[in-house]
């Protein structure tokens, strides 16, 4: 960027350097998301909160949009957060992060607060982030003068309000707004949004966008650490199995996360400084070292797809096949060259 003389750009406030943890044994024991929450047993979004807080560490501020990770997490007088935490409105994750980062930056520049890099992390669900709050997140990703991370926990429904279909719910999934009935079997006819790639490709100045899954906890934490270290506005999208919304026994949360990746439904990748890198099993799917499991193995494990016919499953499979076989960038960018 050309030297823009006066003020804001000149006094860039550095980020914390958070090196990746090489394996679970290197991860410190300290927890910053502790007891006090009342999320469902097997809630992977709660797991993500714990991992994120660990990854960011004590010099972090967390903003949480309305949703399960607010309502089930922070009952008055029993907060699980050992780091500063504040509620923000359902569609406000982008604005909350921007405002917090801007406030800190202004105060530090003007000598009203001690200068130090503080992690600013805003957390939102798929409903709050990928539907209602999309424009605010988009705006946040353009303000490159602020260091902030937007972490989207995707449980594929408006879970807190009793599991309603969102723009990130899978095609055909049963929810309280898309119940299969006597005449209509498939009420949700929308295909899941491709949020992370949309944000990465739509915001070329954004230096880090990644997808993660809590079934791979060390990778998820390292993604958060990388996002916070790289600086500027960054975005991480996590797929979180939700026993209540997906209708399965809580003991299978971890397994379902793995299956989402292994079937190719949830591709893992990161876009760092404009370079795309496939990660984990998704990388091996692309290179042909790992053969995608049939989506049936994933769908059949969840009550939300119990009404699927063989034809429905085949349709689902064909859409996932397209994703890896015909997309311009397999699993990421959905156009085929004309």
């Amino acid at each position: 960027m050309p030297d823009t003389d006066v003020d804001t750009f000149a006094d860039f406030i550095a980020t914390q350097v958070l090196d990746p943890w090489k394996g679970p044994k290197k991860v410190p024991a300290e927890e910053y998301y502790t007891s006090g929450h009342r999320t469902c047993q097997g809630c992977e979004s709660a797991q993500l909160m714990k991992l994120m807080a660990k990854a960011g560490g004590p010099r972090s501020i967390v903003l949480g949009a309305t949703g399960c990770m607010y309502v089930a997490n922070t009952t008055y007088y029993s907060t699980p957060w050992a780091i500063p935490w504040m509620h923000t409105q359902l569609g406000s994750a982008g604005s909350a992060a921007t405002g917090t980062a801007a406030g800190l930056k202004a105060m530090m520049r003007k000598g009203k607060m001690k200068k130090e890099p503080i992690n600013v992390i805003a957390v939102c669900g798929d409903g709050g982030g990928a539907d209602m709050g999309l424009s605010a997140i988009s705006a946040a990703l353009q303000h490159t003068q602020y260091n902030l991370l937007i972490l989207l926990y995707d449980n594929e429904s408006y879970a807190n309000t009793d599991i309603q279909v969102s723009g990130s719910s899978p095609w055909g999934a049963n929810s309280t707004f898309s119940p299969p009935g006597k005449v209509k079997r498939i009420m949700n006819r929308r295909w899941k949004k491709n949020t992370a790639a949309m944000l990465a490709s739509g915001h070329p100045e954004c230096r880090y966008v990644a997808t993660v899954c809590t079934a791979y906890p060390v990778d998820a934490m390292n993604s958060v650490r990388k996002a916070l270290t790289i600086g500027g506005p960054t975005f991480v999208h996590s797929l979180d199995p939700c026993p209540k919304g997906w209708d399965y026994d809580p003991m299978y949360s971890h397994e379902l996360g793995e299956l989402a990746v292994e079937t190719g439904i949830w591709p893992l990748y990161e876009v760092e400084e404009g370079k795309l890198k496939m990660c984990g099993k998704s990388k091996r799917i692309v290179s042909g070292q790992f053969k995608r499991k049939p989506v049936r193995e994933y769908l059949k494990r969840q009550g939300r797809f119990a009404h699927f016919t063989d034809e429905d499953i085949e349709y689902f499979q064909s859409k996932i096949d397209d994703m890896w076989e015909t997309w311009l960038i397999p699993g990421v960018i959905p156009f085929a060259a004309a």
Partner: protein
């Protein structure tokens, strides 16, 4: 709209570094932001308030003012951004008009609920539909129940002074509530008058730095803000906000006294009394309406008609005591609303309903005649005012003017 050029404004140096400049209400507010050393400002375009942001951005690009200036992607984000900036300790400013203010409504509600002491400017504008640019007060009035302090100013000087007072009151620990300054669109936002712009030192002696203390969100103070509550706690929290608004009254009085001592101007805090000493009937209104009303009052006084005018400066907290005091002795009160409240008691505007309610417990309250005038920026002429005053005189003399209905003035039926 051409971007404003600060260099054009005339500057006349006054006592103790104060300058006198020919500026609009919007530019006066921008000066207040600079003088208050605001840390974070967010903007989004909508007329007429957005002229403030044109001046602010020019001050920043000229190096006259240092703050984070963020052009948001919506009013909702505009207000959410500053809310969060305020919670980490930054002094913030924001504003909007008409439907823009409504687009931010959720954020406005939580800002008051959380008792974030931000200062906002509302450039009053009619709500869509149909799209219209002119002034109506329904935009700002919509937050009247939420815990926002609200005031209406009538000159650019008052806009500047009130913005400084607003920061002091809002940030006072006894209050800690947001405050919105309403400026009539076009009439005030865009009209230039000579304004005394105070020196930085005088402002600094009046306005202490913003200090959130134990409520600051920071890693050194790892608190949880706005956790979920139920019927077990919400009522106590609402009660605390109620108490804060009650305490605001005394803090406002204190601030005006100190402002007067330091700047040599401010006037009575809650209301302006114009020729009320021996008035038999009174007109009541807010904002720039004061101009034609004062002219009409003087004209009528020349004809020996004992009419006065009360301009409500603070709508929240509502000046119940002052209105009882000033209106208690008159025979009839004509309230002029530049707003509507369809389906309300007597089909009145919002101000008339509040005034009636404030006067009701008095032993022999005056008759209240309610008028709706000047909607959508339609001019309220001195003749319109005389028409309203005559109706109030008629009611006072036992005439057949209906005080159980509302009279629309200057409307084609």
């Amino acid at each position: 709209m051409t971007p404003p050029d600060l260099a054009v404004a005339e500057k006349i140096e006054g006592p103790s570094g104060e300058t006198e400049e020919l500026i609009s209400g919007s530019e006066a507010i921008a000066h207040a932001c600079r003088l208050a050393d605001v840390d974070v400002i967010t903007a989004y375009p909508i007329r007429p308030y957005d002229t403030v942001m044109q001046y602010v951005s020019q001050m920043i690009s000229n190096g006259d003012f240092d703050c984070e200036f963020i052009v948001a992607e919506s009013e909702h984000s505009q207000f959410e951004i500053v809310k969060h900036a305020s919670v980490v300790g930054a002094r913030v400013f924001c504003g909007s008009s008409g439907v823009g203010w409504f687009y931010a409504f959720e954020a406005l509600a939580v800002t008051a609920g959380l008792r974030v002491p931000m200062v906002a400017m509302v450039g009053n504008r009619a709500l869509d539909d149909p799209g219209a640019f002119g002034v109506e007060h329904n935009d700002a009035l919509a937050v009247r129940d939420l815990g926002w302090m609200l005031n209406w100013v009538s000159t650019a000087q008052e806009a500047l002074d009130t913005a400084l007072i607003a920061y002091r009151v809002a940030e006072d620990k006894r209050v800690s509530l947001p405050c919105a300054i309403s400026c009539d669109g076009a009439f005030l936002t865009h009209s230039q008058t000579l304004v005394k712009v105070p020196a930085q030192e005088t402002v600094d002696s009046f306005l202490p730095p913003y200090d959130r203390a134990e409520k600051q969100l920071h890693p050194d103070n790892p608190i949880t803000i706005a956790p979920q509550v139920n019927e077990d706690w919400l009522m106590e929290m609402r009660r605390q906000n109620d108490m804060a608004m009650r305490r605001a009254r005394g803090v406002i009085i204190e601030a005006y006294e100190d402002f007067n001592a330091k700047f040599g101007r401010s006037g009575e805090p809650f209301i302006e009394r114009y020729m009320m000493d021996d008035a038999e009937i009174a007109l009541v209104g807010m904002g720039t309406l004061a101009m034609p009303v004062r002219v009409a009052v003087r004209k009528m006084r020349e004809q020996g008609k004992k009419v006065g005018f009360v301009r409500v400066r603070w709508f929240r907290p509502f000046p119940t005591i002052e209105l009882q005091d000033v209106l208690g002795g008159v025979h009839a009160v004509g309230v002029i609303d530049r707003d509507y409240s369809f389906g309300s008691a007597f089909h009145s505007g919002v101000l008339a309903t509040e005034v009636r309610s404030a006067l009701y417990p008095m032993e022999s309250p005056p008759k209240v005649i309610s008028f709706i005038a000047g909607l959508g920026g339609r001019e309220v002429s001195a003749d319109n005012v005389i028409e309203m005053a005559d109706m109030a005189f008629d009611a006072a003399g036992g005439g057949d003017i209906n005080d159980q209905d509302t009279h629309w003035i200057g409307v084609r039926e």
